[in-house]
């Protein structure tokens, strides 16, 4: 008896050590990013590298002295003179696109989910099946015709191309419908007896009750859109419409020196911060969203 519990304790200790080891492995890239973003140019070039920033500076973001090698560089907010507002514009593009898609796609999905969960009408099951079946189609199949269609619409190189095709999210509809099925019919019926229209019932009764589901799904959609690389890559041509993932593709240059890496780390930091803030604020919903969607597959 005593022997076994000692074994168990040993196992737990080993497990914890292993977990700490994995935690270091997980955090190294973040630490390296922070170091790189705040190092000065001479420190960036030092070999071996320093693991604590000796003189933290914001030069990789904005260097007031401009291009004065060897000690200075042009920061992230200075290297896009061709675009009005420079890097701010790209930050705005990403926030604007991701936020608009998240809100709009959630709204239309919730509306459709409400109808499919709580209304009875001819063809309902057919519509539902079609939405479900579409979730099996990988984006690689639709991307080529969508590119051709968007070209035909004349949307290439515009916000429309980024926004409109991203709106229909079948998985959001599926998730929200499952959630809405559990809403009591009596409550909706009471609303109807009070003379509320279906839109009103949706807005004032259904939406508030599915708030947690909306947050989980919203975070999920936001994250995907924030990371979306392929679609902007295909439909965006002009510099000022680029989103952050497109900027990041220019940051890995096998022949650039260490100095440029400082700017790259600054860009990586600013790209990852918004999602990290959201994650810290909504940890529970993030994790619930994953756990719940997986249970139903």
């Amino acid at each position: 008896m005593i022997n076994r519990s000692r074994n168990t304790i040993l196992l737990e200790r080993t497990g914890l050590v292993f977990a700490l080891f994995v935690a270091v492995f997980t955090l190294i890239p973040y630490y390296w990013m922070l170091l790189g973003a705040f190092k000065s140019v001479p420190e960036l070039n030092r070999i071996p590298p320093t693991f604590i920033v000796e003189k933290p500076t914001l030069n990789s973001f904005y260097d007031a002295k401009g291009e004065l090698p060897p000690d200075h560089t042009r920061g992230l907010f200075q290297i896009y003179p061709g675009t009005e507002f420079g890097f701010f514009r790209y930050l705005f593009n990403s926030v604007f696109i991701s936020a608009s898609i998240t809100v709009a796609s959630l709204m239309i999905a919730a509306l459709a989910a409400f109808v499919l969960a709580k209304h009875k009408f001819p063809g309902r099951d057919f519509f539902f099946l079609m939405f479900i079946a579409s979730m099996m189609i990988p984006w690689q199949v639709t991307i080529i015709p969508n590119f051709l269609n968007v070209s035909d619409f004349g949307w290439i190189d515009s916000y429309w191309a980024l926004l409109i095709p991203a709106l229909p999210k079948a998985f959001a509809l599926f998730f929200l419908r499952q959630y809405m099925l559990s809403l009591p019919d009596e409550m909706l019926e009471a609303g109807r007896l009070d003379g509320a229209s279906e839109f009103r019932i949706f807005r004032s009764l259904v939406l508030p009750l599915v708030g947690p589901a909306l947050v989980s799904m919203g975070l999920f959609i936001w994250l995907n859109e924030w990371n979306n690389l392929v679609w902007p890559l295909i439909v965006i041509r002009s510099e000022e419409l680029r989103t952050l993932p497109l900027i990041m593709t220019t940051m890995v240059d096998p022949f650039s020196g260490a100095t440029k890496q400082g700017v790259a780390m600054a860009a990586a930091l600013l790209t990852s911060i918004p999602t990290l803030i959201l994650f810290i604020a909504f940890q529970k919903q993030f994790i619930q969203g994953i756990a719940v969607t997986s249970v139903k597959g």
Partner: protein, 397 residues
């Protein structure tokens, strides 16, 4: 108001038989439902349903930037071009006049009688020369790989060798990432299973990569794996005397896939951990207590209780990781956008989706790229079906 009509569906007695007219009447009464469905349905129809059929259609066409007639149907040609393979045994080359066996010495081929003299003079070994694979393979085929099996040499030819390279690389990527993410995710889930503050903190740490912009992360890894001496990993390796020269992780074909796999495992195991933690929560704790009374150690209770009861989660994790692995694109694009054909050094990092992108959006062979997409779809669909079937079995028990 007319909106009320929705709830006032006619009592079921009246509608025992669904005649055609009654369907239309019911549909008219449900018009509000349809109106509420439309904002979702219209973009869904335009950007998902229609494109699926368009994509299938285009995949049977010679639809490309260079073709003059975009509507020209070529049947299954795109698919046969993509999937054709040919295996031929390599036959030794003999001199046409003397009938002597030929050897490859440096750049030139020499008959057997001259080999000894050449080797003595140049100090280089000669190897057996084979009939060139171009003569062995059918028209339109190019050499993809040569194999030595039981002393016989084989040459595998393909009409599109790059596609097969992409397939092999993708399978490699899928195999290693699925196993890596599964094992690491399960291990940390088991370790952090109990509720405590430290465990909660560590869970958050492991989940961090799943919510960080993967695009940004690839840029950071790019610097860590850099070939020059200021790449973090190389620096540490050199300082600790493990290697003397920096390894060019990003430019050495042998390192391309391992680097991509490490990045993918780093980015994905935390997500699997969350799924496993959810699965572990559903296991009744009393089972472990009973097992402990029976004298079962940690390993026995894992093998007899945890592992079997986690099976549904494990299968879900494996299937979703496989599907995700087949679709890898971002990290390869970020690291190798400048390389020719988007495949990294010597196509060592070429996988299916970057190849599709290269064909479709760099070479503008839309028809061919669509065929690639459909081959990928069929593979993914196969795994989705397994997932659905397994899901049904789970519900049963």
């Amino acid at each position: 108001m007319s909106t009320k009509a929705v709830s006032v569906t006619a009592p079921p007695k009246v509608l025992k038989k669904t005649s055609a007219s009654s369907v239309w009447i019911r549909a008219w009464r449900s018009r509000v439902s349809y109106i509420m469905l439309l904002p979702m349905f219209i973009p869904f129809f335009v950007f998902i349903i229609v494109p699926v059929f368009q994509s299938a259609n285009v995949s049977f066409k010679d639809y490309s930037a260079v073709s003059t007639d975009e509507s020209k149907y070529i049947g299954f040609d795109n698919y046969t071009e993509l999937l054709s393979l040919q295996i031929r045994e390599q036959t030794p080359l003999y001199d046409e006049e003397s009938g002597e066996r030929m050897y490859q010495c440096g750049r030139r081929k020499r008959p057997e009688s001259e080999v000894a003299a050449y080797e003595a003079e140049e100090g280089k070994q000669c190897t057996v020369a084979f009939v060139s694979s171009r003569d062995l393979l059918g028209e339109g085929y190019r050499e993809w790989k040569t194999y030595d099996l039981f002393g016989n040499n084989y040459v595998i030819g393909a009409r599109d060798p790059r596609f097969w390279t992409a397939i092999v690389n993708t399978l490699y990527f899928v195999a290693y990432t699925v196993v890596g993410k599964l094992v690491l995710g399960l291990l940390v889930a088991l370790i952090l299973r109990k509720q405590s503050r430290v465990n909660y903190f560590l869970r958050m740490v492991f989940f961090l990569p799943s919510v960080t912009a993967s695009i940004a992360v690839t840029v950071i890894w790019g610097w860590i794996f850099r070939g020059q001496s200021y790449g973090l990993l190389n620096n540490m390796l050199i300082e600790n005397g493990i290697v003397s020269q920096p390894i060019s992780f990003l430019n050495d074909p042998g390192w391309t896939m391992p680097v991509l796999v490490i990045m993918a495992i780093w980015g994905g195991f935390g997500y699997n951990m969350i799924l496993f933690l959810a699965g572990l929560q559903n296991i009744n704790q009393e089972l472990y207590e009973v097992a402990a009374i029976d004298g079962a150690g940690p390993w026995a209770s894992f093998r007899r209780i945890t592992w079997p009861l986690l099976r549904p989660t494990t299968l879900y994790v494996v299937i979703t990781s496989i599907i995700g692995g087949f679709q890898v694109f971002d990290s390869i694009y970020i690291l190798y956008a400048n390389s020719e054909g988007l495949g990294g050094p010597l196509d060592s990092g070429l996988t299916v989706v970057p190849y599709l992108y290269d064909k479709g959006f760099r070479l503008f062979q839309m028809g061919y790229a669509s065929a690639i997409a459909w081959v990928l779809f069929i593979v993914i669909f196969f795994f989705t079906l397994i997932n659905l079937r397994v899901g049904r079995v789970n519900e049963a028990y």
